[in-house]
């Protein structure tokens, strides 16, 4: 096979878009998860939890802008089809993200008496955004089916993703805090893991039956063999993480980051499974990445910029995380 740009570029951009979505889900996943866990936290704990994500959430949400930007830029046809089909869920997602994002700032700046209100809005916004993302994923998996079955499946994925985000949030709290809150977060993590595992099992069982296309893709020999490491590895990671939760937090606070990294690993595996199920379609069964791609010269000029800028972005993102490394203390403007 000879290498030619018109074939390679859409593939590269599909990969970049996937990468942006994956990074977004992992990074904003713990932000949203902490928002969901707000419901179970005391006032003082909420301040510490906000301090654990306050300096990062803006940059984390930017990955979503990059993902939808790449969809819009690289696959304009698909962008229109997907977003018009998901009009109302996208709207719900945006309302959730708006409420969540502004609550971050309002809760710290309003008179003390109104702080409670914005804490509740922060929880609600995070929950709404998580559910909407899960619902959209579910409907998308079924090829943008918005019938009753599609909605039910979407609701199932929504709950599963919200639970998974809550687990991520708990794992991040374990990493960024100490003392009582850290112990509490371990308990949160256990609960969230049970819900996530149940949800993932239900979704995995329902998916091939809800979508004949995915059924055909999953249960064919020998692809089944190549695919088998994904569910097996995920299950092993789950079990291992479950065992870990009985030993955390350790007296010397070692392995505080382990739950988060393990969960990120599970997300990567799940994402790889999804990517496998869809390839080469960007709109399931309707548009392949080549049919939906924009002009080669436009993709080339974006790629040139991306190749230069993306490593820089990743570098300074790491720098920002390092500056605010260690256990979270109350956020002050100093």
């Amino acid at each position: 096979m000879t290498f030619d740009w018109p074939t390679a570029l859409p593939l590269i951009f599909a990969g970049l878009m996937g990468l942006a979505i994956l990074i977004y889900v992992v990074l904003d996943g713990f932000d949203l998860g902490i928002g969901i866990l707000f419901a179970a936290a005391e006032d003082a704990e909420q301040d510490t939890m906000i301090a654990a994500i306050g300096p990062f959430w803006d940059a984390n949400e930017t990955w979503l802008v990059l993902a939808v930007g790449l969809l819009l830029v690289a696959f304009p046809m698909a962008h229109g089809v997907i977003l018009t089909a998901l009009y109302l869920p996208v709207f719900v997602l945006l309302v959730g993200l708006i409420l969540r994002g502004v609550a971050f700032d309002f809760r710290a700046k309003v008179p003390a008496g109104k702080k409670h209100r914005w804490n509740r809005i922060f929880f609600l916004g995070s929950l709404i955004a998580s559910l909407a993302q899960g619902y959209m994923l579910g409907v998308y998996v079924l090829g943008l089916d918005v019938g009753l079955g599609g909605m039910a499946f979407g609701a199932l994925v929504a709950l599963c993703l919200a639970a998974a985000y809550a687990a991520m949030g708990a794992a991040w709290v374990i990493y960024k805090t100490e003392g009582e809150l850290q112990k509490k977060a371990v308990r949160w993590l256990r609960t969230a893991l049970v819900l996530t595992a149940l949800g993932m099992a239900a979704v995995s069982l329902a998916t091939p039956f809800a979508s004949p296309r995915i059924f055909d893709k999953w249960f064919v020999w020998p692809e089944m063999l190549y695919l088998s490491p994904l569910p097996v590895l995920s299950a092993l990671l789950f079990l291992w993480l479950w065992r870990q939760t009985f030993h955390l937090p350790r007296p010397d606070d070692s392995h505080a980051l382990t739950p988060f990294l393990t969960l990120a690993g599970i997300f990567v595996l799940g994402f790889a499974g999804l990517a496998w199920s869809f390839y080469p379609f960007v709109v399931p069964d309707k548009l392949t990445i080549w049919q939906a791609a924009s002009a080669t010269e436009s993709l080339a000029i974006i790629l040139a910029g991306t190749v230069v800028v993306l490593p820089i972005i990743i570098f300074y993102s790491f720098y920002a995380y390092r500056v605010f490394g260690g256990k979270a203390t109350d956020l002050t403007y100093d």
Binding site: G54, P55, F56, D58, A59, E61, T62, L64, V65, L66, G69, L70, L71, L72, V73, A74, P76, H79, G80, L83, T84, Y87, L88, V90, F91, L94, L97, I98, G101, V102, D105, F106, K109, V110, S294, A295, E297, S298, I301, I302, G305, T306, V309, L310, I313, Y316, S317, Y319, A320, V323, F324, G325, G326, K327, A328, T329, L331, T332, Y333, D334
Partner: protein, 453 residues
């Protein structure tokens, strides 16, 4: 109402809400840098107090800008799929470069700028402030480039009904881009200087005579007094550029129905599009010809040259007048305040009371200006390439009506909360005065994590 008009109202509402906040953050970033550099140079803690009051406004405005901006990036797809399908090859890369070069930069260093004071050295903190301010300005550069390209497209060719890029330099620096960019950056500077001056005047009225109040007040008033004549000149140049490239917009701005010489400058009128005439007109003879052509007999384009191809006259005419009127009021207020501050070293109470509502004058002028230029582009979405009506998506009108209603409620509530917080912050700063708790400012970074920070 149908999907088209509802989608237009929705996008208009979203973009109007959105632009309020970048208009503040673009220039406020540089003002914060100025406060910071003054502090670095003088070691006067009043500068740092001013910084910490206004960095909170910056943080809140930034968050509002981010969430409303994310909303808009989705709405291209949910409401206007035809836009990306037709001109995605041009718009896509410009938006991508905005996200890649500006958005990430701002977002990553914002955390350090807001919360990192004790965690990095003073030098790195100043650098973070520079990067955030530079990032917001770079953001504006790319967005204005795209918007200007939609007004005066250049550097492309149509192949199979889709725009393809031919010359990226011509696309980015299209005919109206430099004018619009300068006009917008100055608008941001004016909005922020009036906001700072207005909220400082509120502190003054609340009895605050602290050094940080005076420093912020002077910064706001003098910046405004310097920028407003520059803006009037830049706006005039922008208008002449529009006359050259989008004459139908100028015809609507002037409510000039017939092409010809000796066109009057209409000060007040109710343009009637069905009768093609102005009712209750008050005008200065030859005024428009003099301003636009520098000669009383200069020929000014009229709407009769563009049948069915010109924007609605009423909103463009009034949008332009509100913008210019606000600008003249800004000139009068900022120069009077500058005079009293400079010569009398005081601020008369009535002037201070006028300056409080003028805190939002920048918003009013910016919105009116954007309405003039955006409605003035209609019926085109991309001039001569794509009509707005052809870009709208297949979503049911009832869905758009529902989302529009909720957006409007949400935006009104958020705006009330935002303004409430601004007033709250100003009054709190007024109460604390120069005794407000000052964060530990050190030349070297603390060990991490910051103990008890």
């Amino acid at each position: 109402m149908d999907t088209l008009i509802l989608s237009r109202i929705q996008f208009g509402a979203n973009i109007s809400f959105h632009i309020l906040f970048p208009t503040i953050t673009i220039a406020l970033g540089w003002v914060l840098l100025f406060f910071k550099l003054r502090y670095n140079a003088t070691n006067d803690s009043a500068w740092m107090r001013a910084y910490f009051t206004w960095v909170k406004v910056f943080a809140l405005s930034f968050a509002m800008g981010v969430v409303s901006g994310v909303t808009m990036s989705f709405q291209f797809g949910t409401n206007w799929p035809g836009y990306m399908e037709k001109v995605g090859n041009i718009a896509g890369p410009l938006l991508a470069y905005e996200v890649l070069t500006a958005f990430f930069l701002e977002a990553a260093f914002l955390g350090i700028m807001l919360f990192g004071f004790r965690r990095v050295s003073n030098r790195v903190h100043t650098l973070a402030t520079v990067l955030v301010a530079g990032g917001t300005t770079l953001s504006a550069f790319w967005i204005i480039a795209l918007n200007s390209w939609m007004q005066t497209p250049d550097g492309f060719e149509m192949r199979d009904g889709v725009a393809h890029a031919v010359d990226w330099w011509a696309i980015v620096f299209n005919p109206s881009m430099p004018y619009r960019l300068v006009h917008m950056l100055l608008a941001s500077g004016l909005t922020v200087s009036f906001l700072i001056a207005g909220l400082s005047a509120l502190r003054y009225l609340a009895g605050d005579r602290s050094e940080s109040m005076w420093k912020a007040l002077r910064t706001g008033v003098f910046t405004a007094a310097i920028l407003i004549p520059v803006q009037i000149f830049a706006g005039d140049q922008h208008g002449l550029n529009t006359l050259e490239h989008q004459p139908q917009k100028v015809a609507a701005m002037e409510a000039n129905w017939n092409t010809g010489p000796n066109v009057p400058l209409v000060l007040f009128a109710l343009p009637d599009e069905t009768a093609k005439e102005n009712r209750f007109e008050i005008a200065i003879p030859d005024g428009a010809s003099l301003i636009l052509r520098h000669s009383a007999s200069g020929v000014v384009p009229g709407l009769n040259d563009y049948p069915g191809n010109h924007p609605p006259v009423f909103p463009v005419f009034w949008g332009f007048r509100i913008m210019v009127g606000t600008g003249l009021l800004m000139l009068a207020v900022s120069w009077s305040a500058a005079f009293f501050l400079k010569r009398r070293n005081a601020l008369p109470r009535p002037l201070a009371m006028l300056m409080v509502p003028m805190a939002l004058s920048g918003w009013l002028a910016t919105l009116a200006g954007w309405y003039t230029t955006e409605i003035g582009r209609q019926p085109w979405l991309v001039t001569g390439v794509l009509k707005t009506a052809d870009a709208v998506g297949p979503v049911a009108g009832s869905h758009v009506a529902l989302t529009l209603a909720i957006y409007l409620i949400l935006y009104v509530l958020l705006l009330i909360a935002y303004l409430g917080v601004l007033v709250h912050l100003a009054l709190k700063a007024a109460k604390d005065g120069d005794s407000s708790p000052l964060p530990g400012v050190m030349k070297t970074a603390m060990s991490q994590p910051a103990a008890g920070a």
